[in-house]
């Protein structure tokens, strides 16, 4: 019996996508520390930071909220975004390390177009981030931070878009950064600015009080758009503007990543040179 892969067409793509997502989820399940740290980080923010700031920060009524809300409720969607931000950086930047680089090579020599392989890898990372998000939201629910039950359903498509966008950002960075000594550099120069200069912790108008420049940066930060998309979806509302900007950022980052991993451009060549 000869089954040649290239003759199978759509079935081949479907199987490959299933394989890539399945592998990522299996790896995630096996790496309990990764799961735990993905949960502990936002929970610390929720239990400690938000609780402490509750008294200091009053949040006026701001969409999508219809009443005054405690600070924990405001910050929860931002922490959901934070989970996806970390996951997107980690899953892509782990490629920079040799061991993951090996499996990236394995992926790239499979007989499928590169754009498909990279997109499938992003989807796989997004699937993992969504598992983390729902685990976090479940604990937050028990803690008393609760959104309307249906909101947890309408949240899902928003998480797919925001997860893809943040994963694509990580993938783009991994193709552009030649060498990375450790994760700390990314923390300082990408994750922290992205997170703090956004609407994750404070609403935009609060930022405007602090200064026009800060306000502008927060407003154009794609991460803000993703957080607002998540925030509205959790309350069964569609923020079309946030969706538009998030999709645009996704398109730009993904396009850049596909370009970055183009074999003719030789990103892998530079890295491969180290092995020779």
């Amino acid at each position: 019996m000869t089954v040649t892969a290239s003759s199978l067409g759509a079935a081949h793509y479907a199987r490959a996508l299933g394989g890539i997502v399945g592998r990522e989820v299996l790896r995630f399940v096996h790496q309990r520390e990764r799961f735990l740290s993905a949960l502990v980080r936002p929970l610390l923010w929720l239990f400690v930071f938000a609780a402490g700031f509750r008294a200091a920060l009053g949040i006026a009524i701001t969409p999508p909220y219809e009443t005054y809300i405690p600070y924990e409720v405001y910050i929860a969607p931002g922490l959901v975004g934070m989970i996806q931000l970390f996951n997107g950086m980690q899953s892509s930047l782990s490629m920079v390390y040799d061991r993951e680089m090996g499996s990236m090579r394995m992926l790239l020599v499979s007989p499928l177009p590169r754009w498909f392989l990279l997109t499938a890898k992003l989807l796989a990372g997004t699937a993992v981030s969504i598992l983390q998000v729902y685990a976090f939201l479940a604990i937050a629910w028990i803690y008393g931070v609760q959104a309307p039950p249906l909101g947890y359903v309408t949240l899902l498509p928003a998480l797919v878009v925001s997860g893809l966008m943040l994963g694509a950002l990580g993938m783009l960075l991994s193709s552009a950064i030649r060498q990375l000594e450790n994760f700390a550099g990314v923390m300082n120069f990408v994750i922290f600015p992205t997170f703090f200069l956004s609407t994750a912790l404070y609403p935009l108008w609060k930022m405007q009080e602090a200064g026009e420049l800060l306000y502008t940066i927060c407003a154009v930060n794609p991460f803000s758009q993703a957080v607002e998309l998540i925030r509205h979806a959790l309350y069964m509302k569609l923020n079309a503007e946030a969706l538009g900007w998030t999709v645009l950022a996704l398109a730009v980052f993904l396009g850049g990543a596909i370009y970055g991993y183009n074999p003719a451009r030789g990103f892998l060549a530079r890295r491969g040179a180290g092995a020779e």
Binding site: M1, T2, V3, T4, A5, S6, L8, A11, H12, Y13, R15, A16, G18, G19, I20, G22, R23, L26, R27, H30, Q31, D98, R99, M101, G102, S103, R105, M106, L107, L108, V109, S110, P111, L112, P113, P263, A264, G266, L268, A269, R270, G272, A273, A275, E276
Partner: protein, 246 residues
């Protein structure tokens, strides 16, 4: 006449604006032949390997796999090739089976076919009873065997291996070398085996000597020795390298 399993013609490559890592490299690997790509460290083996597996692309020269141009139709070309990289590429936390099925999915094999072939390939390597163990529990030699089994799941006509015995002890090394030779003889697979270790090459193999990015000699071991005026491949190799240094 059928096209060779692998043909490389006039291939050159430079990293950035640096010196050429490969210059005007041509070689062919026929079905059923074991061809050793022999060169010291830094000769350009890994670069050539990365070009053949399309991790990166050169604008000068052509690479054909079973007659299919790698640049024009990469998916069809890559589907015919099995690869074992120098660095380990297995997921340590997953089982042997999960690793193999993941790879089979990338090649579009239906699950049932994949299951059957995974078992068959592992049996051939004497690894069938380890199928549900996590890779982390296997030693280096056994991991290599799993990688070899994996590279054969889609029944490629060409198998390329980049220094696959690096880091293995002597018995494990010998087992892998013998096994790949058997694959050539029994299944007619074409093999390109990059190495800097002469004792991995059998007397009836073909050898391509590469040094500083250029091919220095190519052909059956006997012919290469005769042309170099040497008794053994070790002597030939030393002379070919020394000639350059002089």
């Amino acid at each position: 006449m059928t096209a060779p399993a692998l043909s490389v013609e006039s291939l050159s490559y430079a990293y950035g604006r640096g010196a050429f890592a490969l210059q005007d490299v041509s070689l062919a690997v026929e079905a059923g032949s074991f061809t050793a790509l022999l060169g010291p460290n830094g000769a350009g083996k890994t670069t050539l390997f990365a070009l053949i597996t399309r991790l990166f692309e050169s604008t000068s020269g052509t690479i054909r796999i079973g007659g299919v141009d790698l640049r024009a139709d990469p998916t069809r070309a890559l589907a015919r090739m099995g690869v074992v990289f120098q660095q380990p590429t297995l997921d340590l936390d997953l089982t042997v089976r999960q690793n193999l099925l993941y790879f089979a999915a990338l090649h579009g094999l239906p699950r049932r076919t994949a299951q059957a072939r995974a078992l068959e390939a592992l049996e051939r390597m004497g690894m069938a009873e380890r199928i549900d163990e996590t890779v982390r529990r296997l030693n280096g030699g056994h991991r290599r065997r799993v990688e070899l089994a994996r590279a054969l799941l889609h029944e490629p006509a060409l198998l390329v291996l980049d220094e696959p015995t690096v880091g293995l002890d002597v018995p494990a090394r010998r087992a892998i070398v013998e096994h790949v030779h058997d694959l050539c003889r029994e299944r007619g697979i074409a093999v390109l085996w990059a190495t800097h270790l002469i004792d991995e090459i059998a007397p009836d193999d073909r050898v391509v000597v590469i040094h500083r990015g250029r091919i220095r000699a190519a052909g059956p071991v006997g012919d290469v020795n005769r042309d170099a005026g040497a008794e053994t491949l070790t002597d030939s190799f030393n002379r070919l390298i020394a000639k350059e240094a002089a």
